[in-house]
């Protein structure tokens, strides 16, 4: 067995607690928002499965980001903070260590997202006795976005010496930094599509239920503004794959360059 797969299995064992926690949170949230209200008042139920799914799935991007902080924010930063690298090296090289830790956490993280979708699939079958092809596409876009966000947080983690700092910086960038950039662009460069903002690509898992539809809407109230809703499918996939590759390579190089 390779060192990467040994580390992967070790990470699965080490972080199973996080997996249980986020699975429980996800299931509780779905039960509270996607099951109980409709059991109490069936009139609230949407007309079609796609309407139901697009209404309910909006929350998953928060799960993706919050879970990513905890699964990926520590991967590199913890080695520096707790000096665990002193017992790991020279037993394993840095690339295999990052790959194993990342893949182990990714499996747990994507499993949480998969369970989230399975629960909605079951609800779809209960309420509508059907599901749609778009639902599967939404699932695939969620996985892709999840991987892109996780590599982004891994890259942030590679610069940090503290796990908490890594999580705080990631939080500020994803929730405050990118939103601020997006707002400025909307105001001053309305024709420029913000494809380089990773959070912009997160909307695809919900927007896919409405495709083909407007990708933006315009407002001329005081000034002209173009509010971008979603990228094209091809742009979404390409940019996120670039993000994933770039972030992983960056993480490795930074980790390799930093003296332990």
């Amino acid at each position: 067995m390779s060192q990467t797969s040994i580390t992967l299995l070790f990470e699965l064992k080490r972080h199973k607690g996080r997996f249980y926690l986020f699975t429980l949170i996800s299931l509780a949230l779905i039960t509270l928002s996607g099951l109980i209200p409709y059991l109490v008042n069936p009139d609230l139920l949407q007309d079609t499965f796609n309407d139901f799914a697009s209404t309910q799935l909006g929350f998953i991007n928060y799960i993706i980001i919050f879970a990513s902080f905890f699964f990926f924010g520590a991967i590199i930063a913890e080695e520096f903070q707790y000096k665990t690298y002193l017992i790991l090296f020279p037993k394993i090289n840095k690339l295999k260590l990052i790959a194993g830790k990342f893949l182990g956490n990714l499996i747990l993280f994507l499993s949480v997202l998969t369970i989230y979708y399975i629960y909605y699939l079951i609800l779809g079958l209960i309420f509508f006795q059907q599901i749609s092809f778009e639902f599967f596409l939404s699932y695939l876009f969620t996985l892709l976005y999840g991987i892109a966000v996780s590599t982004f947080i891994l890259a942030i983690s590679s610069f940090m010496r503290s796990v908490s700092f890594s999580i705080i910086i990631s939080f500020l960038l994803l929730f405050v930094g990118f939103s601020t950039i997006s707002t400025f662009l909307t105001l001053f460069l309305p024709y420029v599509e913000p494809i380089y903002l990773i959070t912009y690509h997160g909307s695809m898992n919900v927007q896919i239920f409405n495709f083909p539809d407007l990708r933006y809407y315009e407002s001329t109230f005081f000034i002209y503004m173009r509010i971008w809703l979603t990228p094209s499918i091809i742009t979404n996939i390409s940019i996120q794959l670039i993000y994933i590759g770039f972030d992983f390579i960056l993480s490795y190089f930074i980790f390799n360059l930093r003296e332990l």
Binding site: M1, Q3, I6, T7, F10, K13, R14, G17, Y82, K83, T84, Y85, L86, I87, F89, P90, K91, I92, N93, E259, L260
Partner: protein, 356 residues
């Protein structure tokens, strides 16, 4: 050069700079198979930095570290890191992923180092028994005390049965029993043919187990030799003489004065190495005399002869304590180095002023 003449580890002009600070300065050392080498120095001397370079965690600024491979050729640890597979390291105070058990951790490390799969379980038990943590096998590391973590650190260094064991302050934070245990483990490892490279500032522990000692200060190697050879270079200054019967308190003063008088010529230099005012002290709690002398080998005989002939004291043992010897060498070398540095600095400053 025969195979036995090829060192197992060779530090070659090893230098490490952190910005303007030189942590290790042109270090040259050779460690041979089966030896226990102690790297001794004060805090900040460069011990851990040297060990981190040996583990390929830090890259040397200049020089290199070579390890002997299966074909008896020396390989650079930077360009050929696989050569380190036969080494086990305990660096600094170890930290572990705390949510897992000692067993899970050791199993992970054994697998990482390709230890035969069918022997992993028995090896974990063997190592845990060796370090007296077997009962804690399935307990999470987060509940371990500092000393237990230190022992677990030793276990992870030994889990793959390495040929070379490199330990950085292995006895730090341990109680006396655990320190003795570790000392015995090191001796057993040496008996089994392992080569041990040990950094510590615990002089007694070092003197008990090491064949040779490398004294390092501010990154510079001051001396590297057997303790007995170092003694010759820097003579010792303390003799302990234990007595069968205590000296009655009313006679202590007169006996000591008489001895000081008779041994006067041998005691002259002793006061330069100690803060004590008297050269000969009597400790009634151990029924022993402590004699500070000039350190010459033949002087010991003369002192013993004088004690026997001139007094009616019944001597049970007469020796130079090992720890004191090492401490004395250590302090003298550090002091010598500091004086040399100060002189160099003054010389440089004078030259600068002269140029201005």
């Amino acid at each position: 050069m025969t195979i036995s003449e090829i060192p197992l580890i060779k530090f070659e002009n090893l230098t490490k700079d952190f910005g303007q600070i030189r942590a290790v300065d042109n270090l040259n050392l050779e460690v041979y198979e089966g030896e226990i080498i102690g790297l001794v120095g004060p805090n900040g001397a460069g011990k851990t930095t040297a060990i981190k370079m040996l583990a390929n965690i830090l890259t040397p600024s200049q020089g290199r570290i070579l390890l002997k491979d299966k074909n008896n050729k020396l390989q650079d640890v930077v360009t050929n890191p696989n050569i380190l597979n036969k080494s086990g390291f305990l660096i600094d105070i170890p930290s572990f992923y705390e949510g897992i058990t000692a067993y899970e951790l050791l199993k992970y490390f054994a697998k990482l180092q390709n230890y035969p799969k069918n022997m992993v379980e028995s090896r974990i038990d063997e190592v845990l028994q060796l370090i007296d943590l077997f009962e804690w096998k399935h307990q999470k590391v987060k509940i371990f005390s500092k000393g237990m973590k230190q022992k677990l650190g030793l276990a992870q260094a030994l889990i793959h049965d390495p040929q070379i064991v490199v330990l950085d302050e292995p006895q730090i934070g341990l109680d006396p029993k655990a320190r003795v245990d570790i000392r015995n483990i090191l001796k057993d490892l040496q008996k089994n043919g392992k080569t041990i490279f040990l950094a510590s500032h615990m002089l007694y522990e070092i003197s008990e187990v090491c064949d040779k000692i490398a004294l390092i200060n501010r990154g510079i190697l001051l001396e590297f030799d057997k303790i007995s050879e170092l003694e010759k270079k820097l003579p010792m200054h303390e003799i302990k003489c234990l007595l069968l019967d205590p000296i009655e308190s009313e006679y202590v003063g007169s006996i000591l004065s008489m001895l000081e008088d008779k041994l006067k010529s041998y005691l002259v230099e002793a006061s330069t190495y100690t803060n004590q005012q008297h050269h000969i002290l009597y400790d009634p709690s151990v029924k022993g005399l402590k004699i500070l002398y000039d350190g010459k080998e033949d002087t010991q005989n003369k002192i013993l002869t004088t004690l026997i002939k001139e007094t009616n004291l019944k001597i049970t043992s007469f020796f130079t304590p090992k720890t004191y010897q090492l401490e004395s060498i250590y302090m003298a070398l550090i002091k010598r180095d500091e004086v040399k540095r100060r002189k160099d600095l003054e010389y440089k400053n004078q030259n600068k002023k002269g140029q201005l």
